[in-house]
């Protein structure tokens, strides 16, 4: 099965620190076996819809070998190999993706402001055209507002803070957390927003539009 895997720089597994053998011009890389026979210790990759849960420096298309098992937001195979690096995923596209997530958080904040009849503040957010402006305006709203609009504006300001500080992955996480706040604490909103982020990322990277991989 073809799936996707984020790796740290140098094609290193982010958690085990195992280096993955690289593909050659002739084709896919050598197989990497699971570290042991325990079922949960197989080789992990993910589907398109779960990409946003596993962001890292490099994104690879990988082949997983049978038997396959569904894990939480992952697919687990008995072994795997690198097929092709998704070259469009780099620091610049990571930042672009995080920016798109920040603008989604802005829209969420705007909806809450309008829902509470704070139309003037909503218009201020809608009028933002840069991240620094977005940070400044959302900070102001979070300070002078109250309740849900203030909370969402605060999340938005923090989303932009991390983005401007260069931490794109954390920025997308905070943006997804703001979906939970918007849904009055419904934790399912987090996973749903992460999935929406994943689809948006796949579209940016030109990955398979099929939603079953």
């Amino acid at each position: 099965m073809i799936a996707y895997k984020f790796l740290s720089a140098g094609a290193v597994a982010p958690f085990t620190r195992r280096p993955w053998p690289l593909p050659s011009p002739a084709g896919a890389g050598p197989w990497l076996d699971a570290p042991d026979d325990r079922p949960e210790h197989g080789v992990h990759a993910c589907r398109v819809r779960d990409l946003a849960f596993w962001l890292d420096s490099e994104l690879w298309r990988v082949e997983l070998d049978d038997p396959l098992r569904d894990g939480q937001r992952q697919i687990i195979g008995s072994r795997g190999r690198l097929v092709e690096r998704i070259s469009r995923w780099d620091e610049s596209s990571a930042r672009g993706f995080a920016e798109a997530c920040a603008w989604r958080a802005r829209d969420r904040s705007v909806a809450a402001l309008r829902g509470s009849a704070f139309d003037q503040d909503a218009a201020l957010l809608v009028g933002c055209s840069s991240l620094s402006e977005l940070r400044s305006v959302s900070n102001g709203i979070s300070t002078r507002s109250c309740g849900l609009p203030a909370a969402l504006a605060g999340y938005l300001a923090e989303t932009v803070d991390f983005l401007l500080a260069g931490d794109s992955a954390c920025s997308t996480y905070i943006s997804a957390r703001s979906a939970v706040v918007a849904e009055r604490g419904d934790e399912d909103a987090f996973g749903e927003e992460r999935e929406e982020q994943s689809w948006a990322l796949a579209e940016r990277l030109g990955l398979s539009p099929q939603r079953d991989v």
Binding site: F6, F15, F53, Q72, D167, E187, F190
Partner: protein, 88 residues
């Protein structure tokens, strides 16, 4: 309390780090642990430091301690239990 199957707080991660390093976490919790690491650079650094500490400490033997170090450490631990902060 872990409230989301796709999320884990930094504090929860800190509490679980030893079990993670020793591969004693159930699969679902290990997955949440690793999901957290995917976006949290400070926790990645913390995990790396803990792994380094375990590696370095694992090289120590009782015989390798310099003279007086064992007594000083024992005194410090006894002081810790007495609540005086372990000061000799």
């Amino acid at each position: 309390m872990i409230v989301n199957s796709d999320d884990l707080s930094c504090q929860e991660l800190v509490e679980l780090v030893t079990d993670y390093i020793e591969d004693r976490l159930p699969a679902s919790l290990r997955t949440r642990f690793e999901m957290h690491l995917s976006y949290c650079e400070p926790c990645r650094i913390y995990l790396a430091q803990m792994r380094e500490t375990v590696t370095l400490a694992g090289r120590l033997s009782e015989e390798a301690l310099p003279a007086g170090a064992k007594e000083a450490l024992l005194a410090a631990f006894r002081g810790l239990h007495r609540g005086d902060g372990g000061q000799p």
